[in-house]
Subunit: 253 residues, 2 copies
């Protein structure tokens, strides 16, 4: 069987996330599976690298599927984009080893949280950013971010779901970049707990407003105190920008 | 009476245009009037500089209204933005002479038609551009655009409405700018006939695809032959970016 890897971009506004949670509403996964099914003429279950939450976007989600089609990847790419709804696009289709698994082979994910920092709201970026009318202290945000970086127990920065595998994750970098009226916070880690990126973004915004210091962040991490951490920033500012994979099969699989 | 000028930005996706045409659906004008009414405590009719069509966006629409409020423009700005729906923003409020009239005092309007020129569609710009999967010949588009510039009868480049005042307009400049994956066509004129910007954009796209030459454009203008001109490009690529006003009252008013 061939194994094909899709890179996907989507505007998550109209979706209940990548994968269905209890409750109803359309998901990105089932929309991609339906498009692939029409192109390949049979049902095709896909495996996503990460489960983006309701309303969260992606520029570089990844998903693989097994197929016996003999069609060239570039032909599948073209037809899938015609079959997909306009708020989902497939950016590439490529062959991967038969044992490749988008979730198990992922070694790093990068999420971006985008802030529109300006007194006047912007109708064109409202779907893809959080409007922050007051100015932010970026050095204070960077100092707070530095406290988060490392292999740590992020239990205090997660909502309840997703703690089954323990709260430890390796947050490798947090970059804060100003780009005109926008401030992007980029988080790269081996994995993220449920709502972790949005909760970290919420805390860094509070740090930027002077309501929270680097010391407070350190205390929250040490005490694993979810109640002390500010609420998650809203979904529309978050985007899964990139997934990195190992190039060899993991030995433990 | 004071006379205040608003600069407005809006995502036109959800609106039936600036002003209601026969038929139903919400308009930008009535949404702005409703927000102003809540802020000032009384109904406030506004005068827009241009009537953007259903689904067309604006970054720099202008509208004025008379009021006896004594509130400072910056306070009105803040409150209006809180009262407006999230797909409309007010960018500035300023005092203008009592006789200022946003339609009669406008001397130049600039519209931008945005193309996303790339084989893969982009979910994030789909609401604000037209996706063109094939590459475009920009020098051919520029040669075709040069035929349009000048004071001419644009009857062939307009739909029926709006010809009451004659088909002559002064198209001052057409600029074609590449910006990464996007190609922007900027039209500046003293005024535009109904659907003129979108019909000119449609013709320039055909020129970029090699289906229409500068000579064809010249012939269409000379013969005023609407039937020979390609259809209007769709509304979502068009945006009213700027309105320029004279600084003195027009003598003829």
């Amino acid at each position: 069987m061939r194994n094909l890897l899709l890179t996907l971009a989507y505007d998550g506004t109209g979706y209940k996330g990548w994968q269905r949670l209890p409750g109803s509403g359309k998901t990105v996964q089932e929309s991609v599976e339906a498009a692939l099914g029409r192109v390949l003429g049979r049902a095709v279950p896909i495996i996503g690298a990460g489960r983006t939450d309701a309303g969260v976007h992606a520029e570089g989600q990844a998903a693989n599927f097994h197929t016996d089609t003999t069609r060239a990847p570039e032909d599948i790419l073209e037809d899938v984009n015609e079959a997909l709804p306009r708020d989902i696009a497939c950016r590439s289709v490529k062959e991967v080893p038969e044992r490749f698994h988008a979730r198990y082979w992922a070694v790093e994910k990068t999420y971006r949280y985008r802030l529109h920092v300006h007194p006047i709201p912007d109708p064109f970026s409202r779907r893809y950013s959080l409007h922050v009318p007051e100015s932010l202290d970026l050095p204070a945000m960077e100092a707070a971010a530095a406290e988060l970086v490392g292999r740590r127990d992020f239990s205090a920065f997660a909502n309840h779901r997703g703690l089954k595998r323990g709260g430890e994750r390796d947050l490798r970098t947090v970059h804060i970049q100003r780009n005109g009226q926008f401030v992007d916070i980029l988080f790269s880690a081996d994995g993220f707990l449920y709502n972790q990126a949005r909760i970290m973004a919420g805390a860094l915004i509070e740090a930027g407003k002077g309501r929270l210091g680097a010391k407070d962040i350190r205390g929250m991490l040490e005490r694993r105190d979810r109640a002390a951490v500010p609420g998650a920033a809203p979904a529309q500012g978050l985007c899964l920008v990139r997934v990195e994979f190992r190039t060899e099969a993991p030995g433990a699989e």
